[in-house]
Amino acid sequence: MNRQAQAAVLFLIGVAVLRASFTDLYLRYVKAELRPLLMVAGAVLIVAALATVWYELRALRAARNGAAEGHGSSGHDGHGHREPRVSWLLVLPLLALILVAPPAPGSYSAMRAGTALKPLPAFPELPAGGTLRLGVGDYAGRAAYDDGRNLRDRRIKMTGFVALDRGGAPHLTRMTLNCCAADAQPVKVRLSGRLPPTLQPDTWLEVTGTYSSKRAKDPVNGGVIPFFDVTRAAPVKPPSDEYEG
C-alpha cells in the first residue's frame, strides 16, 4: 500500500471512530468510559493522515527541485516505502464500522452463552411503594440468590429483549458488558403469565408483572434462570445503551 492509500485509510478509520464516538454507535461495542479515549484515538489517526499527506507533498516538491540530478533515489521518495500487504486488512473494520455497523449482541449470542448470574454478598434495600423498576440482572440476582426477599407482592417493571430457547420458551434478556462486546454475557429471566401470542426474538419489551419463585436451569452452564409472572408486555424502542451493569 503506498502512502497516499495509507493516508486515506488512516483518515477514514479516524473519521469512522470519531463518528462512532460522537453518536451512540460506540455503545454497541464498548463501555461508555472508553469514549474520551476513542475520540483522542480518532483525532490522532486523522492528524497522522494529514501529516503523511503534508510530508508527502513536501518530499515531492523537494524531489521536483532536485530533479536536475536525474535518476536520484529521491525520485522515489513519495512512494518508496510500502507497508506489508497485511495493512490492507485495516479496510475490513473500516467497512464494517461505516457500512454495516453490526448490532449489539442479541438473542443468538444470548442463547449460546450461559446466564452470567453470580451470587452477591448483599443486596441493597429497594425503594418502598409504587411500581418497582428493576434491571433484568438485578431482578434475576435477587430472585436467585436473595430468595426474592423485597420482591414479593410488588409490581415490577423490566426492560429487555426477547430470546427463545430451543423449546421456544420466551426469556427476557439483557447482555452485561465488562469491557467490550467480545466478552458480553447474558442475564436471562424466563417469562410466564400473560404474554403476547407470538414473540419475535430480539424485539424489545417492557414487561410489568410480579415475582415468581419458580426457577429453571440454564442448559449451557447450569446457572439459575428465575421466572417472572407477566401481567402486561409492551414493545418498546431499544435503549441507546443496550447493555446492563
Binding site: A5, V30, A48, Y55, V86, P102, P105, C179
Partner: protein
C-alpha cells in the same frame, strides 16, 4: 508479507543504507522500480474497493444478516474498537521513544549487566498503563534504541500484566479474592523475568530479525515522528485485525458447553483456560472480567488465563512476528506459554 517493504526514502538522497545491508538494499531498490506500475495502483485499488462496497451495500448487507455472521462481525468490530485507543497510545509512545528519547538514556537508566537489567525492566513494566497492544510497539522501539533484547522482552511480557490499570481491573473483577491480584502480579513478573534470563542465556540474535523498517533519521523530527506513527498503525493494526478475526471466529463458532466439560479436571482446566486465553486474544485490561465470569473453573485455572493472556495470544503472536520476525515468534511463543502455565500452577498452589 513483511518482505514487501522496500528501502526507506532518504531526504539527503544518500542512497540505501541504514538498517539494510548493501546487497539487500540494492535488491529492494530494484524491486521498488520493478513495481513501478503497481505503485500507482494501490490508491486506485482502494478507491475501487470502497466504491464497489458502497454500490453493493444492499446485497452485502443481506448476505451478512445471518445471526452467526452478525455475531461474528459484532465481536470483530468490538475487539478492534476496544484495542484501537491502546494501540494508538502505544504507537505514540513508541514514536516518542524512537524520536525524542536519546539512546543514551536507556543505557544510563538500565543496569549494565543484562542479568540485572532484566528484573529492572520487568518492574519498569508498571509504568506503561495499557494493554498488550501498546507494549509490542514500545518493546520494538526499545530494541531499536539499543536496549538489550532480554530486558526489552521482559518489559514486553510484564508491562501489559502488572500495570496499575490492569491490577485494579483484576481487583474489581475478583472482589471476594484479593489474593488473585497478588498472584497475578507475582506470577506475571516471574514469567517475564524468567523469559528475559532465558533469552539472555539461550537466545540468538539471528532469531530476532525485525522486518525492514523505514529509517526515519535524516528527516526532521516531525516527519520522523509521524512517519513512525503511520508505519506502526498500519503494521500493528493489520495484525490486530488478524487476531480480532480469529477471536471472533472462536467466540461465535465454539459452543460454550465444551468449556463446561473441561472444567471438571484440575489439570485439564488449567491447560484449557491457558489455551483459551491464547485463542480469545482479549485485551489485558478486560481479561480479568472474563476470567471472573468463568465461575465453573478453579481460581488457579483462572490465574493461568490471566497470566498467559497478556503474554501470548493470537493477535500478540501476529504482532510479535511483525515486530521481531517470524523465526523469533515461533520460538518465543511456545516457551512463554509453557512457562506461564507452569508458573501459574505453582503460584496458584502457593498463593490461592
Amino acid at each position: 508479507m513483511p518482505t514487501s517493504e522496500t528501502a526507506p526514502p532518504r531526504a539527503d538522497g544518500g542512497g540505501q543504507g541504514g538498517d539494510h545491508g548493501g546487497d539487500h538494499g540494492a535488491a529492494e531498490a530494484r524491486g521498488a522500480e520493478g513495481q513501478g506500475s503497481r505503485r500507482v495502483s494501490s490508491s486506485l485499488v482502494l478507491t475501487v474497493v470502497l466504491l464497489l462496497v458502497m454500490l453493493l451495500q444492499a446485497p452485502i448487507g443481506r448476505a451478512l444478516s445471518a445471526p452467526l455472521m452478525q455475531s461474528w462481525m459484532t465481536v470483530f468490530v468490538a475487539i478492534v474498537v476496544q484495542a484501537l485507543p491502546f494501540l494508538v497510545l502505544g504507537v505514540l509512545l513508541s514514536a516518542a521513544i524512537a524520536v525524542f528519547v536519546p539512546a543514551s538514556f536507556f543505557v544510563r537508566a538500565l543496569p549494565k549487566r543484562p542479568a540485572l537489567a532484566v528484573p529492572v525492566a520487568g518492574v519498569g513494566g508498571v509504568v506503561l498503563p495499557g494493554c498488550e497492544c501498546a507494549s509490542v510497539p514500545v518493546a520494538g522501539a526499545l530494541v531499536r534504541r539499543g536496549v538489550t533484547p532480554a530486558a526489552a522482552l521482559t518489559f514486553l511480557l510484564s508491562a501489559p500484566a502488572i500495570n496499575p490499570i490492569v491490577l485494579t481491573a483484576t481487583a474489581v473483577a475478583f472482589p471476594g479474592d484479593p489474593e488473585m491480584v497478588l498472584a497475578r502480579f507475582v506470577a506475571s513478573l516471574l514469567v517475564a523475568c524468567a523469559m528475559g534470563w532465558l533469552w539472555q542465556r539461550l537466545g540468538r540474535t539471528e532469531w530476532m530479525r525485525p522486518p525492514a523498517r523505514p529509517a526515519f533519521d535524516g528527516l526532521g523530527k516531525g516527519a520522523a515522528f509521524w512517519g513512525s506513527v503511520r508505519h506502526d498503525v498500519m503494521h500493528a493494526g493489520g495484525f490486530l485485525v488478524v487476531g480480532a478475526m480469529a477471536a471472533a471466529t472462536l467466540k461465535s463458532v465454539v459452543p460454550e458447553s465444551w468449556l463446561q466439560a473441561a472444567a471438571g479436571n484440575p489439570v485439564v482446566s488449567v491447560l484449557v483456560l491457558g489455551l483459551l486465553a491464547v485463542l480469545l486474544s482479549i485485551c489485558s485490561e478486560a481479561d480479568a472480567f472474563v476470567a471472573a465470569s468463568l465461575t465453573q473453573f478453579s481460581l488457579t485455572a483462572r490465574l493461568a488465563f490471566l497470566v498467559v493472556g497478556p503474554m501470548i495470544d493470537l493477535k500478540l503472536f501476529a504482532m510479535q512476528a511483525a515486530t521481531f520476525g517470524r523465526g523469533f515468534a515461533l520460538r518465543f511463543a511456545p516457551v512463554t506459554f509453557a512457562l506461564a502455565i507452569a508458573v501459574s500452577a505453582l503460584a496458584g498452589a502457593v498463593l490461592l
